[in-house]
């Protein structure tokens, strides 16, 4: 017998199956390309006092935080494909617990997000140089991304466990993804000129807390606000994790569209 724990066997399978190279290139390449293009083109358009006036230095931590969305989207997609191609049933009827399958999905989400962070850093370091981060800052960044990806991945898994139509699932996922990104501080900061409605929505967006915390960690300015933001993120991740467990308990197996 292979002595790997069931969760790790499932993670290996998650990485190897369902994810073709083109998808991975697009998912991880797109933010990297955005760093290059937006970072250079928008440099003079968007005020970024927090990062000394450099938009690319502002953008990079935002794109690092954005990896929580990438990780969540990839895992949500993987879960959906597993349902669509009956691998959920196949695995559930095998030597695995449902909890192990869920744990493997969430671990895959976090690992995807971490891989995304690595890719972002490889692209960004030549542009922004090595940021003055302490080991604690690095831990905070990784915890933030992990919690953020658990939040978004948990949400999409819960959603995917309830819906039976691919159209509906991917439409909701796309809309949510774009709202999360554009109504957050990933691309631009909240300033005194930001419309009140917009800033209210942005403050209600978990990605804003993740982006701000990562940004503060990059600039060595972590403070109480970030601790609160991280706590909010942890709370939200717990809620979506509970939702995904509930979804798994009530999942309707069988063919889906």
């Amino acid at each position: 017998m292979t002595n790997w724990p069931p969760v790790l066997r499932l993670v290996v399978r998650n990485f190897e199956s369902n994810l073709d190279y083109l998808t991975l290139i697009v998912m991880f390449g797109q933010p990297a390309v955005l760093v290059l293009i937006l970072g250079t083109m928008f440099n003079n358009l968007i005020p970024t006092a927090a990062t000394g006036g450099s938009y690319i230095a502002f953008l990079v931590p935002g794109m690092v935080a954005f990896q929580m969305v990438t990780g969540g989207v990839l895992s949500g997609r993987l879960f959906w494909l597993d349902r669509r191609w009956s691998m959920v049933e196949q695995i559930f009827s095998g030597p695995f617990l449902r909890a192990e399958y869920l744990a493997a999905l969430l671990l895959t989400t976090v690992l995807f997000a971490m891989a995304g962070v690595g890719i972002m850093m490889v692209v960004a370091l030549p542009l922004i140089g090595v940021p003055p981060v302490s080991p604690l800052d690095i831990v905070v960044i990784l915890v933030t991304i992990a919690l953020g990806s658990l939040f978004f991945g948990g949400f999409l898994i819960a959603l995917g466990s309830r819906l039976r139509s691919a159209n509906m699932y991917f439409t909701i996922q796309s809309i949510l993804q774009y709202f999360l990104i554009f109504l957050s501080t990933v691309y631009y900061p909240i300033t005194s000129k930001t419309p009140r409605v917009l800033s209210t929505i942005m403050w209600a967006n978990p990605l804003t807390y993740a982006a701000n915390t990562v940004r503060d960690a990059f600039t060595g300015n972590l403070g109480t606000g970030d601790a609160i933001g991280l706590s909010v993120l942890a709370l939200l991740a717990s809620i979506t994790f509970a939702a995904s467990i509930w979804g798994f308990r009530h999942i309707e197996l069988g063919p889906i569209q």
Binding site: R13, E16, N18, Q90, S93, P95
Partner: protein, 328 residues
Amino acid sequence: MSLPTGTPLVVARKLGYSYAPGRFAIRGLDLDLLAGRIVGLLGRNGAGKTTTIRVLTTLLLPTEGSALLFGTDARRAGREVRRRMGVVLQSESLDFVSLERNLTLYAFLWGVPREVAKARAEEMIELFELGPMRTRKVWALSGGERRRFQVARELMHDMDLLFLDEPTVGLDALTRRKILKYLRARAQGGLGILFTTHILDEADQLCDSISVLHQGRLLVHASPAEIKARYGGGRTVEVEFGRPLDGQEAALRRRIIALGVGYLSLPSDPGKICFRAANAEDLVAELMRWARETNTEVERLSVRETSLEEAFVGLVQAPTEPDTAERP
């Protein structure tokens, strides 16, 4: 290590599952499966075959009755019970890697050591004639090839009990024969198999016993021979007359039924009659007498063993269906 033949693998009593209150997919189902035996689960579409397999593979929890899997209640059956079972689902299931990697990846999931998995993948590729497509993505294969792959994949790990939900759908006759032969050999080695199919000939060839489900309930559990004898009358007689019977059907029908017929059918063609009975010779003699009396020429007459399919149709044909058949 295979279990001794005759060891109980599945013992279901009054098993039921309802998707919603009062909406039972199966109800009151008794089922036994022993090591080394092959049980066929037959029924029309929606009869409850797939639900039964889902309950017995612990994908669904029974809402009524009990099911013991290797002596463990299905409601509490965990990893250790499922480790001893294999299931080929009715729906296609696959990973987006090559066929060969699908086999070894699945074996990896089941904890099969790498070298064993490699050797077994070769064996399965050979057995199921999957060699030419081993490097192709499974989703790009034809329906029949994908079905072959799916059965092959399930045989990558060791098991004592195998559930097959319509495993031969879309397969050509030669491949089907090969698979059935292989399954028979595995059963002789101690594997217990629960098998659903709509190809009743293969159930006849393969199964030691058959459970017929109808609208979620068990109609009968018996050997294929018993079912054919009991519900198919043993022999099937088909007679074609030289002219339409023109209003004489009722009299003929009464005469045949009076002699004890298992199943009688007056097809839409008014010049044909078909019946099944154990005492087919007596009935044929009576039929010929009637033909002489009424100056009706018999153009063609055949007597043959009733097939399982004919017995099955006689068994499950609903009373609401066209009045072409009756079971006195």
